[in-house]
């Protein structure tokens, strides 16, 4: 980071418009060589677009790019690679049926026949494994690797192409905390070797932990360039949103009410014979938020699916208001009638039909409601009018029920789902990842809604991979690991280290 050396990247006056959306407006950015530079912003702030321009995926409408002090025109990924830029995309650009080494050489094979390039790549992979601790089996099939290793392949791909500048787009979204820590030490090692790293994220903790400088984007514009050591998470959050945000959720203590839902001894075994849930016991009381803390893939999703009636437990019973649910009642439609509503963790896959107008999505699952039209018919005007009302109440932007759902931002799509389920007066609300891919403003709104529901006496089961979120919202926290409940803590008594141990499967008895 000497003053004499030219910045690794110098962007000036970059603008890019997609139809009516101005994704980047007059963006300038300077990244010092040999540094880790963070770019933060809410979803849709234009971070990914800016990086896609830098990587040649899109061409900017106007603006200049200079790499290492020399002006460059980057019109395709090939140009970017030639300029020494490598990118690790949020959704990995890997071919799952090919081996690691085949993925690494793809596009840089070095000759018409594969054998030469592949053996060179093997040697190079061995060297990179030594230099950075990036060991990997070159012949493993990529689709069979864990997500953390797949990301490693992405990084190796960039390094193999001789990248001097590495861009990572939301790299930790798919990683467990220990994997994220490993990634960060790798990024530091790369910086120490003189490489430049750009880290795009919306997690402030990561910015504070690993970056040297940070740039903040908001609505397509650069709003701040700061040295990480001289800033703080509240300052960054404020810059991202444009106003002060409550990172802490305000929640008054409330005595819990009667037992509403009780699950006893739930087992779930899948078709391959793998146990996904083993002996899960769970009680939900009225006016209580029970949070499930766990690393993704430890049975939380399956638990919610069983309770929502989407899958049937291999063993165990569920009681609702004292009554054991019969297998006939254990389907989503009946459960909804009984007051068990479900906000699915993946709104694109199970929460919404994104090709439908928003109004239609606001009645999905409730399309049999007689209030929506006579007999088998639906009344579009009634549906639209109701949607308009709820959209106003939930601050869905734009408040246009006719607009295709795919055109809404993640946060607003989530509000459409939230409104649909909450407006039907649930007794029990099952919530999966309520704020995944949602911007800070909407997170705050969703958190406040959930607290208000709890205060109104709804029993809420919250599953989230964001431990902070679980700790902030819950009254009681259950930790899950390997399909079992490994521990229970009252929220006041819970701390992150203790929960982390439970999430890792270190139970009281073992400890």
């Amino acid at each position: 980071m000497t003053a004499q050396s030219a910045p690794a990247i110098e962007l000036s006056g970059i603008s890019k418009r997609f139809g009516p959306v101005q994704a980047n407006r007059d963006v300038s950015l300077s990244v010092a060589a040999g540094s880790i530079h963070g770019i933060v912003g809410e979803n849709g702030a234009g971070k990914s677009t800016l990086m896609s321009i830098l990587y040649g995926f899109y061409e900017a409408d106007s603006g200049e790019v200079a790499i290492g002090g020399r002006p460059r025109r980057i019109r395709s990924p090939a140009d970017a690679i030639a300029a020494g830029i490598g990118m690790v995309h949020q959704h990995f650009m890997l071919v799952e049926t090919l081996s690691v080494v085949e993925n690494v050489v793809l596009g840089a094979e070095g000759g018409a026949w594969l054998s030469g390039g592949v053996s060179r790549a093997r040697a190079e992979l061995a060297r990179l494994a030594q230099d950075y601790g990036l060991a990997i089996d070159p012949d493993a099939i990529v689709g069979e690797l864990s997500v953390g290793f797949q990301q490693r392949v992405e990084i190796l791909k960039a390094l193999y192409r001789g990248a001097q500048i590495l861009i990572l787009d939301e790299p930790t979204a798919v990683l467990t905390p220990p994997e994220a820590d490993q990634l960060f030490s790798l990024l530091r090692a790369l910086r120490d070797q003189g490489k430049t790293v750009i880290l795009i994220t919306h997690k402030l903790r990561e910015i504070m932990e690993v970056t040297d400088r940070v740039s903040v984007m908001r609505r397509g514009e650069m709003v701040a360039h700061l040295a990480t050591s001289e800033t703080s998470p509240p300052e960054l959050a404020e810059a991202m949103v444009g106003r002060r945000v409550l990172l802490q959720v305000e929640k008054a203590p409330r005595p819990r009410g009667a037992k509403v839902l009780e699950a006893i001894g739930l087992d779930l075994v899948d078709a391959r014979g793998v146990a996904l849930l083993s002996g899960v016991n769970l009680t939900l009381h009225a006016g209580e938020i029970v949070g499930i803390a766990g690393v993704a893939g430890n049975g939380q999703s399956e638990l919610i699916e069983v309770l929502a009636g989407l899958s049937h437990p291999s063993r165990g019973v569920v009681r609702l208001g004292g009554q054991i649910l019969s297998s006939a009642d254990r389907n989503p439609a009946c459960l909804r009638k009984l007051g068990v509503m479900h906000i699915p963790e993946d709104r694109h896959r199970t929460g919404l039909v994104t090709a439908f107008p928003a109004a239609e999505n606001s009645i999905l699952g409730y399309q049999d409601d007689p209030a929506l039209g006579p007999g088998p018919f639906l009344s579009p005007s009634t549906i639209a009018a109701r949607a308009r009302e709820t959209f106003a109440a939930y601050d869905v932007r734009p408040p246009d029920p006719e607009l295709k759902t795919a055109k809404f931002s993640g946060g607003n799509q989530q509000k459409i789902v939230l409104a649909r389920e909450i407006e039907r007066a649930p007794k029990v609300l099952l919530v999966g990842q309520p704020t995944r891919g949602v911007d800070i403003g909407a997170i705050e709104f969703i958190h406040r809604r959930l607290i208000a529901l709890r205060d109104a006496g709804v029993a809420i089961l919250l599953v989230s991979v964001e431990l902070e979120e679980v700790m902030a919202l819950s009254d009681r926290i259950l930790a899950m690991c390997g399909g079992r409940i490994t521990g229970e803590r009252m929220a006041e008594a819970a701390d992150e280290r203790d929960l982390g141990l439970l999430m890792a499967g270190v139970t009281e008895e073992a400890a």
Partner: protein, 324 residues
């Protein structure tokens, strides 16, 4: 020794019936491994059969016919490519359109030009691919029992396009597995975004695959009209393009397995012909249609997961759109 001779005759017939299947299956394999579903193999073979028969009849050269057949088929392939790759259209719709276009166009043009109900003139001499006798065929036959006979009856005595089809098989297998082009092609059928971000043109690769597909369909169609028959007959492909599609699925999109699938389907066809009007002991007369339906039936059973598992290339049939 008599049963060996019968076996050799059926095998020979099976191979002759498999050649057009193999060409079309390899064509489909190239296209689908690159992510372009091609249901128009049938139409492309048909247009190639027609074009090759016409040019062979006019020029008197079977080789000129082959080139014409390939070019006609490639032209239709490019139409499919233009619809599916450049305009990101629905690949099934485009393929069906090509089949209908070929079925109609060949008959209309044939009738207009020759007035024989769509037939083209009968090909004779150099206008038709004759049998190629491989060296030592007769010597080996008389010196080595069984294998010598099979060499003479089955391996030798096929026509030039048949040997070209085998060559195409070997080249396909080697190129897909061992070359840069093959790696990129396999990648583009699985995850075109990965290819794009690696700085390679997705459209370029897919057009390449589609052109190869056209050339191979051209070879298959030419074989039908200029080698197996002595001229074009309306609708002479008779569903071979669809059986080839089934063979591709049966072969799990792999070249050598495609050969075995085509041989199997060809053998079924040969047996069906052989059994025509023959009453089997205990069963009676087997309807030919029942045997002809077997390739489809077997493919359905395969897809239902009873025999094994068939996994198509992941991006097959999906137009590539850069995500925003």
């Amino acid at each position: 020794m008599d049963w060996v001779a019968t076996f050799a005759v059926i095998l020979d017939s099976a191979i002759r019936l498999s050649v057009p299947l193999l060409c079309a299956a390899l064509a489909g394999l190239w296209s689908e491994r690159a992510g372009v579903v091609d249901i128009g193999l049938e139409g492309k073979m048909l247009i190639a059969a027609f074009a090759s028969a016409v040019i062979a009849a006019q020029s008197g050269s079977a080789w000129a016919g082959l080139i014409a057949g390939m070019l006609a088929s490639i032209a239709l392939s490019l139409v499919h490519g233009f619809a599916a790759i450049t305009w990101r259209g629905n690949q099934i719709v485009s393929g069906v359109a090509i089949n209908m276009l070929a079925a109609g166009l060949t008959v209309i043009l044939g009738n207009a030009w020759y007035g024989q109900g769509g037939r083209t003139p009968t090909l004779e001499g150099a206008a038709r691919f004759g049998e190629v006798t491989l060296p030592f065929a007769t010597t080996l036959r008389s010196h080595i029992p069984v294998l010598g006979l099979i060499y003479d009856e089955v391996v030798s005595g096929q026509s030039a396009p048949a040997y070209l089809a085998v060559l195409a098989l070997v080249v396909t297998a080697v190129v897909l597995k061992r070359t840069r082009f093959g790696l990129r092609l396999r990648a583009v059928g699985e995850n075109p975004a990965a290819v794009d971000t690696a700085g390679i043109s997705v459209a370029g690769l897919r057009y390449g695959a589609v052109i190869i597909c056209g050339a191979l369909c051209g070879l298959g169609g030419t074989y039908l009209a200029v080698s197996q028959s002595a001229g074009f007959l309306p609708h002479m492909t008779a569903g071979k393009g669809f059986i080839a599609l089934a063979a591709v699925i049966f072969a799990n999109w792999r070249p050598w397995q495609a050969l075995w699938a085509c041989l199997l389907f060809g053998a079924l066809d040969a047996i069906a012909i052989r059994l025509q009007g023959v009453a089997l002991p205990g069963i009676g007369q087997v309807p030919v249609q029942a045997i002809q339906a077997l390739p489809y039936l077997m493919t359905v059973i395969l897809l239902a997961g009873f025999i094994g598992k068939s996994t198509p290339p992941k991006a097959s049939g999906l137009p590539y759109v850069k995500e925003r």
